[in-house]
Symmetry: C2
Subunit: 259 residues, 2 copies
């Protein structure tokens, strides 16, 4: 299959690499920045362009992997490739931004957080697929199946809900790691001291249900400790408020569980 890749960010880079490794042919890489397009194109043995009107019309699959709010405009500016398949890779963006139901459109959403400098094992990354026809879903499932062991068909609405879950499980937890780093730094301690705890916290839930392994003052209803913690956070009212709300949320979830 001949693929044109539109984008050169983290998702485009890791997806492009995985597709090439799986034996697909990347014929072209487009990016707003020629430097970025070239760097990725060289790696994927593709041709680079920074001109949307220069996108080839003979690819079998066009993958738009750019920032969520740029997808629609990139899709509308690329040449009319009527009948050929155009997909995006976004969790929170509906398929319909690519066109109406008469178009061959779809979504290929890898549920993972990517960093430029860190390799990931694509075979373990769940991929959500959606298509405007059953044939497209089948085709995209086949492509995704070459990359990953876990391929799930999902509507745009389901994918958006999955994305909310991912924000809590990934973006918000990473922020709490940053909050912890900040608290430690104010006290003169290195973030290093808390890394083993973070590794174990994530490791635990690979084999357990998170609700079953919840620890800490909130789930124990240890009000004295929570009050001491709020006292420590009194100079950071926004953080103290988050401490209170999340503690209350822990208490509520476990109350609900017992009903």
């Amino acid at each position: 299959m001949k693929i044109a890749l539109l984008g050169s960010g983290n998702v485009a880079t890791h997806l492009g690499r995985a597709l090439k490794t799986a034996g697909e042919e990347i014929i072209q890489v487009w990016s707003r920045s020629m430097v970025n397009a070239s760097a990725l194109a060289v790696e994927l043995a593709a041709v680079a362009t920074d001109d949307l009107s220069g996108i080839r019309r003979d690819a079998d699959l066009y993958i738009i992997s750019v920032n969520d709010d740029a997808i629609e405009s990139v899709a509308s500016q690329m040449p009319d490739v009527a009948g050929r398949l155009v997909v995006h890779t976004s969790g929170s963006t509906g398929m319909e931004v690519l066109g109406d139901a008469s178009h061959s459109i779809g979504v290929l959403y890898p549920l993972q957080t990517f960093s430029k400098l860190k390799d990931v094992d694509f075979s373990r990354i769940p991929i959500a697929v959606e298509g405007s026809t059953p044939q497209i879903v089948e085709l995209l499932s086949a492509v995704a199946g070459k990359l990953s062991h876990t391929v799930v068909e999902m509507t745009s609405a389901q994918r958006r809900t999955l994305h909310v879950a991912a924000v809590f499980a990934c973006n918000f937890t990473n922020h709490f790691f940053a909050v912890a780093a900040d608290i430690l730094k104010r006290e003169g301690f290195s973030f290093e001291i808390i890394r083993p705890l973070i590794a174990e916290t994530a490791d635990k839930i690979q084999i357990s249900d998170p609700q079953d392994v919840q620890t800490g003052p909130a789930v124990r209803r240890d009000n004295r400790t929570m009050e001491k913690h709020l006292e420590i956070l009194k100079d950071q009212p926004a953080l103290a408020e988050i401490y209170e709300k999340v503690s209350q949320s822990i208490i509520n979830l476990h109350k609900q569980d017992r009903r």
Copy 2:
């Protein structure tokens, strides 16, 4: 060194095992429940008791590893072992609950989350030590050094701050894993689908500073996506509020970073 272990919960169990592996002699295990005391005592080749007045007076070290709010009462009810060292293992409890400065008291706080069923590599767990005299700090550092590569001297106030950081990095993140599981369940998806994302999120910060690898709609100031997410959470107002506050906190931390 002869050690009496007071407690049979997760921390007492893992600490007892690690001490025994390191060659220390556990002579006695006390627990309010004789069943629990016996189970752990058998494993540690110690004698079990559920009677605080039956604690032997000839141990070199008494480790009180019970719920935070029980430490003080356990300490006050155990026999007077004047001159012998009594420590607790709590992050958020001051050393002073064990007695005044004339006593031989201290703290041995392993910074980790323990589960009954999951083994942990104690050598990678940072241990914070505190003592009422420099000699006690030295002794506890030596004991802790047999268990772990990372031993840090800390005051009770510092340890309490470290504990707040741990609540964010461990307890609150685990709750967000549970929130994600709940959101997925409502949509009919298994928690399994998000486990690789969680593993990678924690893995990333083992080599990076969390603030440098923050991703998601908040750090991108992608208001459209955040609004869509809040719409999805509209039937769960407490969760929607947490979504808003944590997103704002991400924006604030990165603003602060750019100053």
